[in-house]
C-alpha cells in the first residue's frame, strides 16, 4: 500500500517498440458496435430498417427505369403498373392480390401511385432539409463563433441573427402561395418557399451549440496549447456539432415531408400531373368514404416514412456519441483504461 510511486524514469519506454499499432479493422468493429446498439434499442432498429427500406425502394423506383432505358433500350419499372394511369383497371376495386392497395376512382392502381410518389417526396425531404442544413450551419457557425460584442465580427453576428429572425417570421404556406402566384406552380418554386422559411432553424440550432461548445474547458485547453482559432473551429467545434446536427437533420426530413405534403394538398406544390403524396391526398379526398383504402394508403405511406426518420433520429444520438456507444453496446461500464498507479 504505502509503496513509493514509481519514478517516471524507471518506466521502460523503449521508443518505437512501445507504440501500439492502430487497432485493426476499426471500420468493422464500429459497424459491429452500431449493430449491437441497434439490437439493444428496438425502436431505433425499427426506425433504421424503415429508413433503409424506404431509401432503397426510392432509389430503385427512380433509377431502374432510367438505367434500363439506357442499357436495354426500353424502360423497365420495378412497379407493377404505371402511375396515374386512368382507366387501366376497373375503378374502385378494394385491395386484393392483384392490386395491393386497390384501385382508385379513375381506375389507376393505388400502390403504383403511392410508390411512384416515394422518390419525389423523399427527394424533396432530403433536398430541402439538406440545403437548409448547409446554409443554416454556415451562418450559425459564423454567428456563434465570432460574436465578440463591439467588434466588426460581432456586428456581422448580430446582423445574421436579426435577418434570421425576419425569415423565421415568414409563414411557409403564405410564402408558397405568393411564389406560386408570381412564378407559377412548380417543384422548384415550392421547394424554394419551404427552404426560405426552413434554414433559420438551423442557424438557431448551430449558433446555440457553438456558443456552448466554445466555452468548454477543452476548447480553452486547446487555446492554451497554442492551437489557432481556425483549427479550434474545425477540430473541436465542428466535430462536436456534427452529432446534434445529424440528429436534428434526421428528424427534420420527416417534418419537411409532412410540411411539403400540406403545401401540395393546398395546391401550390408540384403540378397535379406528378404523383406526390399531397397531390394524391387531394385527388383522393372525395372518395374518403366510398374507397377508404385510397386515402389510407397515402396516409400510411407518409406516417411510416416520417415515423422511421423520427425513430432513427432519436436513436442516432446514442450511435454517434462515443460516450454512450460503449455503455449501450456492452454490459461493461466504462472502466479505467490502462492506468498504472
Amino acid at each position: 500500500m504505502a509503496t513509493a510511486t514509481v519514478p517516471a524514469t524507471k518506466v521502460p519506454a523503449a521508443p518505437g517498440s512501445a507504440v501500439p499499432a492502430r487497432r485493426r479493422g476499426r471500420v468493422g468493429a464500429n459497424v459491429l458496435l452500431v449493430l449491437r446498439i441497434l439490437a439493444a434499442n428496438p425502436l431505433t432498429l425499427a426506425g433504421f430498417i424503415v429508413v433503409v427500406i424506404v431509401s432503397v425502394a426510392a432509389l430503385l423506383i427512380a433509377i431502374v427505369p432510367a438505367v434500363s432505358l439506357l442499357i436495354l433500350g426500353h424502360s423497365v419499372s420495378v412497379l407493377p403498373y404505371p402511375a396515374l394511369d386512368a382507366g387501366a383497371f376497373l375503378p374502385g376495386q378494394a385491395p386484393s392480390a392483384a392490386h395491393l392497395f386497390g384501385t382508385d376512382a379513375s381506375g389507376a392502381d393505388v400502390f403504383s401511385n403511392v410508390a411512384t410518389a416515394l422518390p419525389t417526396d423523399l427527394g424533396i425531404g432530403f433536398s430541402v432539409a439538406g440545403i437548409s442544413l448547409i446554409i443554416g450551419t454556415l451562418l450559425g457557425l459564423v454567428a456563434g463563433f465570432w460574436d465578440a460584442p463591439g467588434s466588426l465580427s460581432g456586428l456581422a453576428s448580430t446582423s445574421i441573427m436579426r435577418i434570421t429572425d425576419i425569415f423565421l417570421s415568414f409563414p411557409t404556406l403564405v410564402l408558397a402561395l405568393a411564389i406560386t402566384a408570381a412564378w407559377g406552380r412548380g417543384e422548384i418554386q415550392s421547394e424554394l418557399a419551404v427552404i426560405v422559411t426552413w434554414w433559420p432553424f438551423y442557424v438557431r440550432l448551430t449558433r446555440g451549440e457553438v456558443l456552448s461548445i466554445k466555452v468548454q474547458p477543452y476548447v480553452i485547453a486547446a487555446r492554451a496549447a497554442g492551437v489557432s482559432e481556425s483549427r479550434i473551429l474545425f477540430r473541436h467545434v465542428v466535430r462536436n456539432l456534427l452529432e446534434p446536427l445529424a440528429v436534428y437533420f434526421s428528424l427534420d426530413v420527416g417534418t419537411v415531408i409532412v410540411t411539403y405534403s400540406t403545401i401540395s394538398y393546398v395546391g401550390v406544390g408540384v403540378p397535379p400531373s406528378i404523383p406526390e403524396w399531397g397531390n394524391l391526398m387531394y385527388s383522393y379526398q372525395d372518395s374518403l368514404l366510398t374507397q377508404p383504402w385510397t386515402v389510407l394508403s397515402v396516409t400510411a405511406a407518409i406516417f411510416i416514412t416520417v415515423l422511421g426518420f423520427s425513430l432513427l433520429g432519436d436513436g442516432l444520438r446514442d450511435i454517434l456519441d462515443p460516450r454512450s456507444r460503449r455503455i449501450l453496446a456492452s454490459t461493461a461500464v466504462a472502466g479505467t483504461g490502462g492506468e498504472r498507479p
Binding site: 513509493a4 510511486t5 514509481v6 519514478p7 517516471a8 524514469t9 518506466v11 521502460p12 519506454a13 521508443p15 518505437g16 512501445a18 507504440v19 501500439p20 492502430r22 487497432r23 476499426r26 468548454q216 474547458p217 477543452y218 480553452i220 485547453a221 486547446a222 487555446r223 492554451a224 496549447a225 497554442g226 492551437v227 489557432s228 483549427r231 473541436h236 466535430r239 462536436n240 456519441d321 462515443p322 460516450r323 460503449r326 466504462a334 472502466g335 479505467t336 483504461g337 490502462g338 492506468e339 498504472r340 498507479p341
Partner: protein
C-alpha cells in the same frame, strides 16, 4: 532558491471585468463598474520551483492563473517571462510563446474533448507548435509520453470517457508535458479527485518536477496539497495578496489574520481536535466595490479603525525576510496561533457566527 532571474515575474498586475450598464444607468450617468478580479498583484516564480496560490472562490486565483498563461489579457501591469513582457502578446507570437507555459485544468471531464482519442488529445500541443508531423510520429511521441504520467501506451486509441477522474487528469498532465514547457499552471488539479487518487497525482507531480525541472504554479483551495507540492506559498484574498512566504513559514507561522482563519477552518481528520466554535464570520464581499482599506477588514477579528481606511501593503514580517504579509497589525497578531480563532466565545468582536449585516454583502453591495 538563489537570486537567479525569475522565470515569471508578475508586476502589479490587474484584471478588471467591466459590467455592462443598462441604458437608463448610462443616461443617468452611473459610473462604469467592473469586477476587480485581480487588483494589483506582484510575485515571481523561479525556474524549477513550485509556487502555491491559495485562495477561496472569488479570490481571483483562477483569473491570476489565466493571466499568467495568457488566456486573459491583463488590464494593467506587466508579466515578465524570462525578462520579456508578455502581457500584451498577440496572434502568432502569442501562440508560439505558449509552448513555454502549459495549463492543467480543474475539470477532468470537460477539459478533454469527448470526441477525440487519447493520442489526438495528448498530441494537440505538439501539432499546434510543430505542424507537419505525421500521424505515426505523433503517435510515437504520445506513446513515449504516457508512461511518464503512469499510463500504458496501449490506450492510444481510447476515448476520455473510458478513464476515471484520476486517469483523465493524467491525460491532461501528459498533454501539458508534451511540449516540455518551462512552467505548468495547475488550476485545481486534484479538486475533483478522491483523496486516494489525489495522493497518486501529487506524488506524480513531484516526481515529474524532479525529473524535468519545470516550474509549477499550483492554484488551489486545498492547503494540504499545497503543503506537499509547493516550495513557496502566496495567499490571495479578494484579488490581492495577503501573505507570501516559504511553505513552512506560511503554514506553520501564519501572520495574516486571513491565513490564520483559513488554516483554522480546515477540517482535520483527527478526532482529538474536534473543535467547538469557529469565529471568523461573514462571507467574502463582492469584488465590484471592494471595501476600502484592508479587504479582510469586514471579517477580521483583529480589526481596528485604521484597517478600514488605509490599505496595508505587503511587507516583511519577522526574522525571515522573504515572509511578507499585508496587515497593519502583523507584529501584534503574529504570535496568535490559528487555533484561537476557533476557541469558545473568545475576546472577539463577533460573538455570533455572523456579524450583523455582513452576511449579505455579497448580494446587496452590487
Amino acid at each position: 532558491m538563489s537570486a537567479a532571474q525569475p522565470l515569471v515575474q508578475v508586476d502589479d498586475i490587474q484584471k478588471y471585468f467591466p459590467l455592462t450598464r443598462s441604458l437608463s444607468e448610462t443616461i443617468r450617468g452611473h459610473a462604469k463598474l467592473a469586477i476587480r478580479a485581480v487588483d494589483g498583484v506582484s510575485f515571481d516564480v523561479r525556474p524549477g520551483e513550485t509556487v502555491g496560490l491559495i485562495g477561496e472562490s472569488g479570490s481571483g486565483k483562477t483569473t491570476l492563473g489565466w493571466l499568467i498563461s495568457r488566456l486573459h489579457e491583463p488590464t494593467g501591469g506587466r508579466i515578465l517571462f524570462e525578462g520579456e513582457d508578455v502581457a500584451h502578446l498577440q496572434g502568432s507570437k502569442l501562440r508560439a510563446w505558449r509552448r513555454n507555459v502549459q495549463v492543467v485544468f480543474q475539470d477532468p471531464v470537460g477539459s478533454l474533448d469527448p470526441r477525440m482519442r487519447v493520442w489526438e488529445i495528448v498530441s494537440e500541443p505538439i501539432r499546434a507548435q510543430e505542424p507537419g508531423l505525421g500521424k505515426a510520429e505523433l503517435r510515437r511521441r504520445v506513446a513515449e509520453l504516457l508512461p511518464t504520467v503512469g499510463l500504458m501506451p496501449e490506450i492510444l486509441d481510447q476515448y476520455p470517457h473510458e478513464f476515471s477522474g484520476g486517469g483523465r487528469q493524467r491525460l491532461s498532465l501528459a498533454r501539458a508535458l508534451s511540449l516540455k514547457p518551462k512552467l505548468i499552471v495547475l488550476d485545481e488539479p486534484t479538486s475533483a479527485l478522491d483523496v486516494a487518487v489525489q495522493a497518486q497525482i501529487l506524488n506524480r507531480l513531484v516526481a515529474l518536477q524532479s525529473e524535468f525541472h519545470f516550474a509549477y504554479l499550483l492554484i488551489t483551495h486545498n492547503v494540504s496539497a499545497v503543503k506537499y507540492v509547493a516550495d513557496r506559498v502566496a495567499v490571495l484574498y479578494l484579488g490581492k495578496l495577503a501573505e507570501v512566504g516559504t511553505v513552512r513559514e506560511v503554514l506553520e507561522h501564519p501572520t495574516h489574520p486571513y491565513t490564520k482563519a483559513l488554516l483554522a477552518a480546515l477540517p482535520v481528520p483527527d478526532v482529538r481536535r474536534r473543535r467547538a466554535r469557529y469565529r471568523i464570520s461573514g462571507e467574502i464581499p463582492t469584488l465590484i466595490r471592494p471595501p476600502p482599506g484592508c479587504r479582510f477588514a469586514t471579517r477580521c477579528p483583529f480589526v481596528i479603525d485604521r484597517c478600514r481606511v488605509e490599505e496595508p501593503l505587503l511587507r516583511s514580517i519577522g526574522k525571515d525576510p522573504t515572509h511578507l504579509a499585508a496587515c497593519h497589525r502583523a507584529e501584534e497578531v503574529v504570535d496568535i496561533p490559528p487555533e484561537t480563532l476557533m476557541a469558545m466565545e473568545g475576546a472577539g468582536a463577533t460573538p455570533s457566527p455572523i456579524a450583523p449585516g455582513s452576511h449579505l454583502q455579497g448580494t446587496t453591495a452590487g
